[in-house]
Amino acid sequence: MSSAVSATPTDPTEMALPRQRGYWGTVGYRLRYDYITLFFLAVLVLIILSAVFAPWLAPFDPYRESIIRRLKPLGYMDQYWLGTDELGRDMLSRLLYGGRITLTMGIVPVIIATLVGGMLGIVAGFAGGVVNMVIMRVMDVFYAFPSVLLAVAISGAMGGGAVNGMIALSLVFIPPLCRVAETATTQVRNLDFVDAARATGAPLRKVLWHHVIGNVLGPILIYASSLVSVAIILASGLSFLGLGVKPPDPDWGLMLNALRQSIYVSPLVCAMPGIAILITSISMNLVSDGLRAAMDVRA
């Protein structure tokens, strides 16, 4: 019953797509010819894989230090390819392990915010009325803080640390994701076909699943993917301020700050964590843009 309804021409998202490939087929087709996105997707996958497999890839223990070989240049003794840091720890190993922490700090809050914010937004959009008002007004309060300010304030208030940093970032991202989900849900809900489906007596759960979730997920995911790079920069920023990951754990932002003092001894080594953040966030941004174009979502 409901499948018949979804084929009605009033459904705008379905209309826009060439029918023979289906939605995801079209997305895949578009992506296949977007070389820039593909290239940066490959870079991103490489970064993620290197973080995941850091324990197997890292040539040294990222915590093992030696005062004798501190701040050695790139390629030192043919073993320390990216040199050593201010405590003589292998830079490559720390960057690899740091990727784990930094990416986690960036991705986990976005996932949490997507789940919580998305859910709240869908509930608000679908329920409407008082529920919508309560949820959205609470979100408005958090929306009233610029993201950096809110992240720094929450994390600073809670005394820093990786977990507190992630909580802070999650709280920062819940309101915008909630708003995106609410807008998309409200739009879909107000379309005639949803009412029509409900009028025909289709179970609420089914209507929700087929129309609301189906049409709302795209914008939410795209928006969430665009937040990951913001989250990574913000998370490193928190660590840089001393409000995120605590030493001696390798985190790119923290490494950047610690190496700041040694910049005159070994500028290239000190630039590494910044370059790592830059490459990751550029890749993340371009991949997110590419996905958005391919999925034809305007969020």
């Binding site: 230090e65 005062i67 004798i68 501190r70 701040l71 201010e86 405590l87 005394g159 820093g160 001393g242 605590k246 030493p247 001696p248 610690a258 700041r260 003092q261 040694s262 910049i263 005159y264 001894v265």
Partner: protein, 530 residues
């Protein structure tokens, strides 16, 4: 009444004169200093921002009854007469000190200093009912007035201070209490904030202007009572720059002439730009206070083992040479250093001691901070401590926290932190009480004082009591030596290094003598033309 009006008038003229002076006379010489503080130290009397506040603001705007002799770099600095030209213990009462106030001293507002002003200032610190009482000054002063009971004016130029217990070290405490002008305070209705914006003291510099949070400018006091210490430059600009790399960049780009505590790694770069690097030992140590009640450090053998486990030369290396190895509480240039046991690097010995104590591997937890005044480079240094101790049979857990959280732990004492075996708080050790007694005196057991780990030794308590009631300096010195030696014998701390307190200055800065002290005298400095 007339004198007061005259004084006000004079002050007004002085103010006018400063205002009327062109902002940048061609020949005006300016010394610009980048401090490590995050804000301008309080200008209303006793400063905040730790000893840096005293160094740059407190002792420049104000004087205390007792001063520090900062004119020499070859010996540990000691106290000398300040606003009091001499002092002695009352021959009939060993709890009553007499301070004779220097004549002819004038505040920056022109009013003369008398004994009544000293009493007025003490009431500002202590007497809640007095109109000039100030909560923040009270908080700062309390640390130095623990043994203070009362003050009275004996005559126009003499005050008597009575202590609760006999206290031969009272003059040291007096050196931290800044005397402000009661006349200026009255003009602003005793509002400390208004006073801070237009302060009046007796010090070698006068207040010129302040941009809160950004800069404080002082000008030379041409009428300073100590002619030898009238500044040799016209203006002193103080800039708060808490970030070490910011200070380094500011010196290299010519924005300032002098920076405190450059990062050791920046020193070679500074040298290559012809900057002068000065270092000197001063009463500071980077160490751990230990828990004498709970856990392995209650056994002296474990404490000795830990001290044998450290190769302190590595720490010097890590710090780029701006530290000296620390084998005892105080640096060797201290007069009461004595001849303490020396815990050389000997991991085998450490392991043997641990085995003997039945603690191998010996699990200990050390509380450390991520940053903090005097903490040097806490993270890398603690990592190194951990690595070296573990190589000698310990198993170290570092409990990392915020500087304030660590201070709070230090204040609360071991009772509330029984899982912690040592705390890494660097302390200032500028006098016998602050340098030794407070760590090992049973009366100072936390939370009442700084004896964090509740070290208790009747023998040590007896030595301290004797020192405090010995008013003959030479006899007292001998007792102080014994205290210091006994601290080492009992391995009351885990000693690591003494900071050499590096500072860097442009080649134009001439005539500075770095004293072995937390405080420094800037007045002899001249600025060579560009």
């Amino acid at each position: 009444m007339t004198t007061r009006r005259l004084a006000t008038l004079a002050a007004g003229f002085a103010l006018l004169a400063t205002l009327a002076a062109p902002p940048a006379r061609a020949q005006e010489t300016v010394l610009r200093v980048a401090m490590t503080a995050g804000d301008i130290p309080l200008t209303a009397g006793i400063p905040d921002q730790g000893f840096e506040g005293w160094r740059f603001v407190g002792y420049n705007l104000y004087d205390a009854l007792v001063s520090w002799d900062l004119s020499r770099g070859d010996v540990a600095a000691d106290i000398k007469p300040g606003l009091a030209e001499r002092w002695e213990i009352d021959p009939n009462n060993n709890r009553r000190w007499l301070f004779h106030i220097r004549r002819g001293v004038k505040f920056h507002d022109g009013s003369p200093l008398t004994a009544a002003d000293i009493v007025w200032n003490f009431h500002r610190f202590t007497l809640e009912s007095a109109p000039q009482f100030n909560a923040r000054q009270f908080a700062f002063a309390r640390a130095y007035l623990g043994n203070y009971e009362s003050i009275e004016q004996v005559d126009e130029f003499t005050v008597a201070i009575t202590t609760k217990q006999p206290d031969s070290l009272l003059p040291y405490n007096m050196s931290f209490l800044m005397m402000v002008s009661p006349r200026r305070s009255a003009e602003v209705n005793n509002d400390a904030d208004a006073f801070a914006r237009n302060p009046s003291g007796t010090g070698p510099y006068r207040f010129s202007r302040m941009v809160p949070g950004e800069r404080l400018e002082l000008v030379r006091n041409a009428e300073y009572w100590d002619e030898a210490r009238r500044p040799r430059h016209d203006r002193l600009v103080l800039l708060p720059m808490p970030e070490a790399s910011t200070r380094t960049a500011a010196l290299l780009s010519g924005q300032v002439d002098w920076i405190e505590a450059p990062a050791p790694d920046a020193i070679p770069r500074l040298r290559s730009s012809r900057m002068q690097i000065v270092t000197a030992p001063y009463p500071h140590n980077w160490s751990y206070q230990l828990n004498f009640v709970d856990g392995p450090f209650s056994d002296v053998r474990v404490r000795r083992a830990a001290n044998h486990a450290l190769n302190r030369a590595d720490f010097r290396e890590l710090l780029g040479g701006v530290a000296i190895e620390s084998f005892a509480t105080l640096p060797p240039s201290t007069p009461y250093y004595g001849n303490p046991v020396r815990y050389e690097y000997d991991p085998a010995r450490a392991r043997a001691l641990l085995r003997e104590a039945g603690c191998l591997p010996c699990r200990v937890t050390l509380a450390i901070s991520t940053s903090g005044s005097g903490q040097m480079q806490p993270l890398p240094m603690n990592e190194l401590v951990k690595a070296q101790m573990e190589a000698a049979g310990f198993q170290v857990t570092l409990q990392t926290m915020d500087w304030n959280a660590l201070l709070q732990m230090g204040r609360e004492g071991r009772e509330r932190h029984q899982g912690v075996n040592g705390i890494n708080i660097s302390r200032s050790l500028q006098d016998p009480f602050n340098g030794m007694f407070r760590f090992v005196w049973s009366r100072q057991a936390a939370p009442a004082g700084s004896n964090w780990g509740h070290y208790r030794s009747p023998e040590m308590d007896a030595l301290i009591d004797r020192a405090l009631s010995t008013f003959d300096p030479a006899a007292r010195l001998a007792i102080l030596r014994q205290v210091h030696e006994k601290m080492s014998e009992d391995a009351v701390m885990l000693w690591v290094v003494h900071d050499l307190n590096p500072r860097a200055m442009s080649p134009r800065v001439r005539g500075f003598v770095q004293a072995q002290s937390w405080f420094q005298d800037l007045t002899p400095i001249t600025i060579a033309p560009r």
